[in-house]
Symmetry: C2
Subunit: 158 residues, 2 copies
């Protein structure tokens, strides 16, 4: 099987400045998501300073990774549903309408986070993605991203 | 009226390493919240790289500021409810059990965010804080933080 290109690395340049997932944002997290069967998976190693208290991951960082993994999963699923690759026209990108995170336990900063996202609804311009966040084999957080297709004026160079 | 000390600047050193609000986290956002009547207010200027697309604020950053403003508001309210200052014992700190954000419109990155948090429930070890995020005079997002008092083993030097 050929090596997959990350979902976010298939975004157009004008959609690649996001602090969470943009490959062109040199200050950002640059998260990467890949398909694994019917789920999308993202592995991210928090940096030492992404702490809540020393040793544990900051909840806002977890929310951020869920957000970008969710919208990326939504975009990739929408192209797949139309049976066309992500570099085809028209461009499909999703923005977050709402984000919900349940923090189940403190999340160790020593291990990579593994996020798994599953599209539970894809209808019209809306997608819902449910995400689990695991570290050291334990589910530490669950997230739900309600995403909508980005308006046309976001999908341009600026 | 004497100048207020920010809620987060009254946290103990061991509680001041948070990426979102810790005064000792040199890589972090170092948000600051202050009482304004029965609300707590936080003003935060996103950095130029905190973008979703150029010109607009990244949703994960908005979630992060809501998170720390919410837990800070909860802590300050809990001390106030007990009629004692934040430097008194025992220490009260809140961690996030769940975070919900509704993104109402794109948020311009050119203006400071103004967050206003109001405690809508404070009972036992639980607090609920509802937050509005305004930029350029428009409410751009609403958040709800369900917070619980941090366990004793988080409140120590490590």
């Amino acid at each position: 099987m050929p090596e997959q290109i990350a979902i976010q690395d298939q975004y157009r340049d004008h959609s690649s400045h996001c602090y969470g997932c943009g490959r062109l944002n040199e200050h950002g997290l640059q998260i990467k998501s890949y398909w694994d069967g019917d789920q999308a998976v993202c592995r991210f190693q928090p940096r030492p300073y992404h702490t809540a208290v020393p040793g544990y991951v900051y909840g806002g960082l977890i929310a951020s990774v869920i957000d970008c993994h969710g919208t990326g999963t939504a975009a990739a699923a929408a192209y797949a549903a139309e049976g066309r690759p992500m570099d085809s026209e028209p461009e499909l990108r999703y923005v977050t309408a709402s984000l919900h995170v349940d923090y189940l336990r403190p999340t160790s900063i020593d291990a990579p986070l593994e996020l798994r996202g599953r599209v539970t609804e894809l209808k019209g311009r809306k997608a819902v993605v449910e995400v689990t966040v695991t570290a050291n084999g334990q589910v530490c957080a669950r997230g739900k991203v309600v995403a909508v297709q980005a308006p046309a004026d976001w999908l341009k160079d600026r």
